[in-house]
Symmetry: C2
Subunit: 389 residues, 2 copies
């Protein structure tokens, strides 16, 4: 195990009707805020009315900025920053899924700095302050509701880049599983895949003596595998949604990577795919992960075997251990298929040949390697993309 | 799953040499503090010197109060409160195990109130403020380093009572597994038992649809079961200590009871035993738990079967499911025995017959029931104590 520091201050308010507390929680930080959301779904569902009623009751004024899209855009972040600065707003309340929350975090950093917040995403400097962020989560997926991360897409060049900072842990996050009832099945499947991906990125590590967090990760993966089919079968299954939603938050709140270094190459590769093709992040991950695993499993076949046996209930093949690992990968693909997702680039509608371009972008023309479990250069990325064909 | 709120703000600093950061972390809160500890072991080990050097370097002055005993006493708490009030101390730094930390939390509450802090332990009023507490943990066991709890013994009547309040979450806790190398084997075994007890108290619940936290609890129990024998075999096994120490903190930091109601009757019964006989808390728990389980397992035999199969690797006996449950309890007893602990009252040296007295004290002469999984009255407690003979 590695030395670590862990301090996740996000207050979680979980359960039916939890959004009624949003006004009181918000008022602890500011009485004039930015209310940030995506399309019209929160208005259609009545969530917008309940949230604004709670804000009013707590004496909180708000300025609205809707329109966040999947793979949230820098241009909208700039609008939010401008609103915060001009109107002296003191908190960003994100009502939505990971895209809305990531956009809110970007605005929170941008609102208290000179210059362009995109610089942080390019690795030029690190934030030293941020406005507080609160969230009302509607999609169990990204884990952004209790994480240090934000991913933004710059439309100029379709660059998708991330910032991690403890300054942007949300101060509170409201998780009501009922808010997920109305999600389209495709989005549910993408969300469950994103949660699995967060767990697998952490699981595949070169750090030794991490059996406690191994087991916590396995426990969380087994929960996702058990619950995602249930909510796809019955969108009103509150109990299954509760487990899936809470698992999605714990998956990414930094507890499960304490003392270990995750890989994160698959996320980087997927960011290039969704940056160019604007595919759903989860759908991209269902394509990248099987290919990444086929490329890397020889690096530590025992780790893949443990994962196959414990998470996917594969029986250990002592005469051909590697077959055990491969069967785990196969079952993961089956899991994605059963949720209605494809596991090949063609399933994303990607039939042209920009694989080399993606491999170049990922590695800045082969000037950097990435991934911690296995270091990937441009050739490695291209080989993984070939395996994803 | 039940609705819940979760917000654990304790900052964890984990790993070799982490205690060197104690001065900097302390200075964030106060420059004049109470340094609270137990016997002379921290001086003998050199930890005292390293901690005070770090405090000095950060410009922090301290007043010392040592002498905390296992089952920490109210009289020493009163001394600490007096010191804090008289000298205007701004933080309690606990260097030690759960007893020292629990004592520090009591002082932290007492220092900012009028009247006797013991009233909170009697349930007369709840704290509205507390001084900040920081910890340098030397014994993985009580989980007090990231919990809301404190248990104090009042020597007048040997009453052992608890307070739970979010106000006394430590602000920071320093966990260096090396600090546990010098623990006597008996104390290690008691600590591992205490951790198991925290997990089992949470596991045995009537709340339904808690499969995620079930799995997290099982993961943590399996870690304790794997690691405790390793550190008993080799006290210098840093890797095993790391897993055990971190598991001990996570076991009790409130994450693993999110959305579920634990039982906690066994703790209450043990508190009466150790209140009267001053036995080690973990040693008492190793006696109470098997008896409590034998008394309660019919209440929800499926939950005991799941526990036996997943945690203790008992093969499911489909023709006699209850035998599966009983085999789980037997393996738990074996685990305690293998660590050198007894599982009967006689092993604690308790051969007189004050069982009725304990059962009376536990239930205020049969005027209250306690335990959430199964409600216990005086007769039930006496029956459990009989099963522990």
């Amino acid at each position: 195990m590695e030395n670590f520091e862990f301090n996740n201050p996000t207050k979680i308010l979980f359960g039916r009707g939890a959004e009624e507390k949003v006004g009181v929680e918000t008022a602890l930080y500011s009485k004039k805020i930015l209310l940030h959301f995506g399309g019209g779904s929160i208005k259609a569902s009545g969530l917008y009315d309940r949230v604004t009623a709670s804000l009013k009751k707590a004496g909180v004024e708000w300025v609205e900025l809707g329109g966040v899209k999947p793979n949230p855009r820098l241009s909208l972040v700039h609008e939010g920053v401008k609103l915060c600065k001009e109107q002296g707003l003191g908190l960003i309340l994100a009502v939505g899924g990971g895209s809305v929350i990531d956009s809110a975090k970007a605005i929170a950093m941008g609102a208290v700095m000179e210059g362009d917040v995109w610089n942080y995403y390019l690795g030029k400097g690190a934030p030293v302050a941020a406005l507080p962020v609160g969230t009302v989560l509607t999609i169990p997926a990204a884990g952004s509701e209790a994480s240090t991360g934000t991913v933004i897409t710059n439309e100029e060049g379709w660059l998708k880049r991330a910032v991690n900072s403890e300054l942007i842990y949300p101060r509170f996050s409201i998780l009501n599983p009922e808010l997920a009832f109305s999600l389209p099945k495709f989005q549910v499947a993408c969300g469950a895949t994103d949660i699995m991906a967060h767990l697998m990125e952490r699981y595949f590590t070169n750090t030794t003596h991490v059996s406690f967090t191994d087991r916590l990760l396995e426990a969380t993966m087994k929960t996702v595998i058990a619950m995602a089919p249930k909510v796809l079968e019955n969108a009103q299954d509150y109990d299954a949604w509760s487990e899936l939603m809470w698992a999605g938050t714990v998956a990414h709140n930094n507890l499960l990577n304490t003392g270990r270094t995750g890989d994160w190459a698959s996320h980087d590769i997927e960011h290039e795919i969704s940056g160019i093709y604007d595919v759903a992040h989860g759908a991209g991950l269902a394509v990248v992960f099987p290919a990444w695993m086929k490329f890397t499993y020889h690096h530590d076949v025992n780790r893949f075997i443990q994962w196959a046996v414990r998470v996917w209930n594969v029986e250990m093949n002592v005469f051909d251990p590697e077959a055990t690992a491969r069967e785990g990968i196969r079952r993961m693909e089956d899991f994605f298929h059963a949720m209605g997702l494809g596991t090949r680039l063609v399933d994303l509608g990607i039939v042209d040949d920009r694989l080399k371009e993606m491999a170049e972008k990922c590695t800045d023309k082969n000037t950097r390697t990435f991934g911690n479990f296995v270091k990937l250069d441009q050739n490695a990325v291209q080989e993984i993309l070939n395996l994803a064909r």
